[in-house]
Subunit: 766 residues, 2 copies
């Protein structure tokens, strides 16, 4: 972009506004909250993966000194919960997984609450259980929910565009494979923790790390059988979310009921072990994918069948096919698409949303198949991608309208920086036990909101004080991404002040205007547009006032760096605070407050899953150079390159942080992370046994922010936060394949698995 | 008012929204706040009323374990503070009263902080001191401030309207007296307490019970030499204020500096003894007043000279003449007015604002003189008042434009309920030691805001959620009066929902729009109009949407009790939440947020103190029937009657509460309360020795709310909160005079004083 406007705040490497408070321990997370008279809650989990509950005896627990309440299903409202109402906050008749909640205690401290749990006696009648979705699909398998025949979840996603069978018949090359992806966890440093407090007027205040305060309010109210307006959601600092706080979970309902029953505030904080065992994971997936192409590399079709292990209840994990279909239909041009799913109940714990919302799973299959297909075609994988590359103006089979699109630039940048021309497909030149390869993968994702609910809007209120400082009250939530800093930059730029002049208020449902929540990389784009629109209203009023004061037409005035000045006569300048004060401190005074609500010009998908759900789309490419130790199976990443279309970088430092964090999550997915679940039991519920990448596992990273200046984005920006994670695993897998000359189809590429494959393919004889 | 509209929320006896939380102890007052790592502050007060400070040795205190900071003047910014900058948060060279702050400590708990104070050694060189303002005015008196010659404060208030000397010469009757009024205290149950906390970005959050958050922010910033925008003021529940929290005081500066120095939050809470000794009082006054009349009772002139004991520094108490002049110029019609003041520094503690802001002092003199004048004229005191009664359409000598005025109705109502015709002036019929009398007094006060700063505005933001519930973010502050409930009623009425559907947010300067603060009985009127205006904007938008849905013109639609309905076709009805949701949850959705800023159409006073500072004015009358025990001097109130022009009672119960509370304060002023200050020392700093009325001291009270339906007020309301206190003392004094046949001119009418006067006037021989 040659002719870019220079901004005062936009494009600047501004540290997070709350960075110092976070690193010095001043920031208040849910677990730091102490309310007068507060009690501590604990949950009793099932000891059986599948059983009838015959009896729950809480009498001994109730007698324990310091215990203020013991609750079971009989203390709960009779409502079901969950997105298809197949769960209960406490189970009465039956348990269906080891994370099932059976009873809960509120006591004066956590130790007492834990001792009380030990005193609760539960009698079970064990039932046969099923832990593998393919087993669960078979006739005669144990039934997790009586009403879900064949353990089929009633959620089902399928589509067919074009004529897949005809395209298959006409293809020069067709390949088909099965990919398998594991359970992985978000590994937020902030534990799930909430505090519930009822006031004298019957209103409930929930201090919760939810990503979706207004949906949470609605869902919690439904379970508690009160009006959503009776719940005030206050979000303390959130220590990471990545989708893990996108739903209402039983612990929050339990906490509210304990507080109601005791008449005192109750805090319920998970241990790290509970965090691993009792919170949703990324949905494990089996993906059968068949793709084809013409000799020249033109993609002809994709045909995908997806089996998801739903676990025992239904949360957002079950809806991830909605996004998994995006790369299948829209990454690279391909007209004939079939996509079908089987979402299968098992007695495992259920899954939820996680960064990318299924796109990492879908992307892994699609981008792995691009390499496999290229190989079959005898074509360079880079060339195949460029041939089918998405382009501005394209409408994808799902009806998604690509506006700005930097994908070609991203692919070419990564290839160049990887030295693709010299490093790809160099197996024949390598000797010894260490083998090197390069690979890349791209992604397609929403980048301008995502109309997955009827509203994708966000509100903003901007208030300027008498000294030119600003409060932005935004509907959006900062789950740790730094969105409040980005929104401060946008607001400051529009108003002509400085980022540090903006205070962002974003954590109280009673105060902030509505927003659908943090998901789909939408906050910078949607909340940014809302903030900018509200700020623009104030700017117009300031310019009008200044025009009177400076006797200069409004259209000749501009505001920058806290001054209003004449664009034609630089001596005409006045401090912004002075304008405000002159307008305010007088008879018939004014105050400078404005509001806006931005709901993007998008549409819901129709029944065929067609619809332009986002104003613009995000693209990016990652490349990996790896070295595989053929004696140990260890994959070492020598270098990662990320080139990403961010529209415009509002804050390059925070974007780089997003990409680094996203990459680390992607590297974990590719090489290290797997929640080991055996017979429904999590075998590695600790950071000692669950291997997420540490700083030592991080390779050198090159990040290139490709700026396409999206005309609909705030100052040109588009969403990019999930992008860092989506293509990483495929890029690394493709590099490993390039190093070894064969294809691995299951994640993670842990040494044992790689070594076994090396042996099977006799890469190095032994 | 015969033809009054019936409202759903207006005129209803709605309990305070926070009533249950307050009575059950759930409400969080400043002293309840606990922040992580918080320290406790304490202040070392002067041991001398007037002295040079030779040395402050803090070394021993600093060594005490648990002490985190000891500060003296050298740790403070070099700025002065106070409304004329004659005070310092910690004193370096000189102390001028026993409430002077010398040093302060922050420690891990209050006990440690107190022990540390004992270890601080201060060497003084005592100076001669002066405690009586008349002594202080004399040549050669000790000088409190070198720059204030003759101990005259540079604040000075004087005016002359008409020709007082000519009027005096032409008067048929002239009387002159000196009235003396004591130090009294606000006696808030909530102690002065604040918490200061600096964040990593250099921003200060003050948890403060201030009545004026935005002025406080500005004043504190000035002392700390930072931008006001760097201070966020959060107001926890406030346990009463009555003017006592209208200024910034040294304790809050000290708290902020202790927090800055230690890098930790610091809480500083006064003891009850400090509350009595170290917070401002009502300004004691000596009032020389001369008044005259024609034979027919027409008032001819008032000539007032006021001596105020300013104490050692200047706070708002010194500005009370601004309001004392109101009853002098404007209560009853009188054209020729002279008013002059001497505001005199002494070595007493300084005074501040207190309910009525000088009006109780001025009113006492003016209304006592009405009775004395009537007596001289041989005229009934009631008749004299009615003859000179204020009336709608009148412009007072100060240029105050009376619009609605229920004074005549108030006077007549009180007279009737007191049975004035049969009970007044019945001394001749009484025998024995118990003598009865009746008296009354009225008041004139601002009732539609008070433009005493350049802005008298208040902002409001109203947000409606998807279920028809509402948040009102108001600039105003609820200091315990129930204003948030009244504002909820106004907002609910305008929007057609119910009071309990409204959540009021009013305690965070970063969030709420600007407001000048709680004073001058302005909140219901000013903040009410702002809230109504913002709500009206949303109402208009809802009606527009509903009009589309119901296919009915907007002007035929109304909203009430959560429903939008057709005024002509009652079957056309739709739930308000449904309208909102239909407008919100769709493509191009809307959200319902609006803001307004109400700055009343008033003017600042000119140099002659003329100007219509309020949109409307408040009037009221109180009557007392008393029984004086001539053997003990004890005055027993048999009955009080209050009739008050409230414009329109938004909440009769809360208004009655205001009048009962105001009356109790007035009864204390009349009969019981006096802060005994000897040589600058408070001798009765406890509720044991300082006698405020308890529930046992309260007489039967009849309250009549006179509704004049002010066209400028929200739903007709005008301000009335201070009114309850203003005329009480004069009414009681007048009743005592009616009982005894002579006039007492000093408050309080404590038994000893009354008995001495009885003896001097030989009412009952002994």
């Amino acid at each position: 972009m040659s002719d870019k406007k220079e901004y005062t705040n936009i494009g600047k490497r501004v540290p997070k506004l709350d960075a110092v408070d976070k690193v010095t321990g001043k920031a208040v997370y849910p677990q730091d909250i102490k309310l007068p008279g507060m009690l501590y809650g604990k949950i009793l989990w099932s000891e059986q993966a599948h059983a009838e509950i015959l009896e729950i005896d809480t009498s001994e627990a109730e007698k324990l000194s310091g215990v203020k309440a013991v609750i079971t299903a009989k203390d709960m409202p009779p409502t079901k919960m969950g997105i298809i109402q197949d769960n209960s906050p406490l189970k009465d008749d039956k348990v269906r997984s080891l994370r099932d909640e059976i009873a809960a205690v509120a006591a004066v401290d956590e130790d007492t609450a834990e001792r009380a749990l030990e005193l609760i006696k539960v009698k079970y009648k064990p039932l046969s259980a099923v832990f593998d979705p393919e087993e669960a699909m078979k006739d005669g398998a144990p039934q997790v929910h009586a009403e879900a025949k064949g353990n089929r979840n009633k959620l089902h996603y399928s589509l067919e565009y074009g004529d897949v069978d005809a395209a298959k018949a006409e293809s020069d090359v067709v390949v088909k494979h099965r990919f398998k992806l594991p359970f992985v966890k978000h590994c937020c440093l902030g534990l799930h923790s909430c505090v519930a407090s009822w006031d004298g007027a019957g209103k409930l205040t929930m201090y919760s790390p939810t990503q979706v305060p207004f949906l949470y309010q609605r869902d919690l109210a439904k379970v508690l059988q009160i009006l959503p307006s009776m719940i005030r959601v206050i979000q303390p600092k959130i220590g990471g979310a990545f989708g893990s706080k996108l739903d209402l979970y039983p612990n929050e309902v339990i906490c509210a009921v304990l507080a109601k029953k005791t008449g005192r505030p109750v805090k319920l904080t998970y241990t790290r072990e509970e965090e691993f065992k009792c919170t949703p994971s990324r949905q494990p997936a089996i993906i059968d994918i068949e793709v084809g192409a013409k000799k020249d590399g033109t993609l002809t079709f994709r045909d995908v069948f997806l089996i998801l292990d739903n676990g025992a209840y239904t949360s957002w994990g079950a809806t991830t096919p909605y996004v998994i279909m995006n790369p299948v239909t829209s990454l690279y041009k391909c007209k004939n698409i079939r996509f079908d799913t089987a979402i299968i109940y098992t007695n495992n714990m259920y899954s939820g949303a996680m960064r990318g919302y299924g796109n990492p799973q879908g992307n892994f299959a699609v981008e792995s198949m691009m390499d496999i297909l290229a190989e079959k075609l005898g074509m360079d994988a880079l060339e195949l991608r460029l041939k089918n590359c998405n382009e501005p103006g394209e409408v994808t089979p799902q009806g998604m309208r690509v506006t700005t699109c930097g994908l070609r630039e991203c692919i070419e940048t990564v290839a160049k920086r990887l030295d693709w021309a010299h490093k790809r497909n160099r197996r024949d030149n390598q000797t010894g036990t260490l083998r090197r390869g390069v690979g890349l993968a791209s992604y397609f994702h929403v980048g301008g909101g995502a109309r997955v609910y009827r509203s994708d809007g966000c509100g903003a209120i901007v208030k300027m004080d008498d000294f030119g400082h600003v409060t932005l009250i935004t509907g959006s939530t900062d789950i740790g991404t730094g969105s409040e800093t980005v929104l401060a930059q946008i607001t400051a730029e529009e108003l002509g002040v400085r980022t540090e002049d903006v205070t962002v208020v974003n954590n109280d449902s009673a105060i902030k205007p509505w927003d659908v929540g943090v998901h789909a990389s939408r906050t910078t784009f949607i909340a940014g547009n809302a903030a900018r629109e509200a700020a623009a209203k104030i700017k117009a009023r300031i310019l009008k006032k200044a025009s009177e004061m400076l006797d200069e037409p409004e259209n000749k005035l501009e505001i920058n760096n806290r001054k209003v000045y004449s664009k034609t006569n630089p001596e005409q300048v006045i401090d912004i605070g002075k304008v405000i004060r002159r307008a305010h401190f007088r008879e018939h005074g004014e105050a400078f407050v404005a509001e806006a609500f931005y709901d993007p010009p998008t549409e819901m998908q129709d029944k065929e899953h067609r619809g332009n759900i986002s104003v613009t789309y995000g693209f990016g490419t990652q490349g990996a150079e790896v070295e595989v130790d053929t004696e140990t199976g260890q994959v070492r990443i020598l270098k990662m390159v990320i080139a990403n279309d961010v529209g415009r970088a509002i804050n390059p430092m925070l974007l780089e942080g997003q990409f680094e964090g996203g990459l680390s999550m992607g590297i974990g997915y590719a090489l290290l992370e797997k929640l080991v679940v055996e017979n429904g039991e999590v075998k590695n519920p600790s950071f000692l046994d669950y291997k997420m990448p540490t700083v030592k596992d991080m390779p050198p990273i090159e990040i290139v922010l490709v700026e396409t200046d999206d005309p609909a984005g705030p100052f040109g920006a588009k969403g990019a936060a999930e992008g860092g994670t989506i293509p990483t695993a495929a890029a690394i897998r493709n590099a490993v394949a390039d190093a070894l000359g064969f294809h691995m189809l299951e994640l993670p590429l842990q040494p044992e698995k790689v070594l076994n494959a090396i042996k099977a393919h006799r890469i190095i004889g032994d």
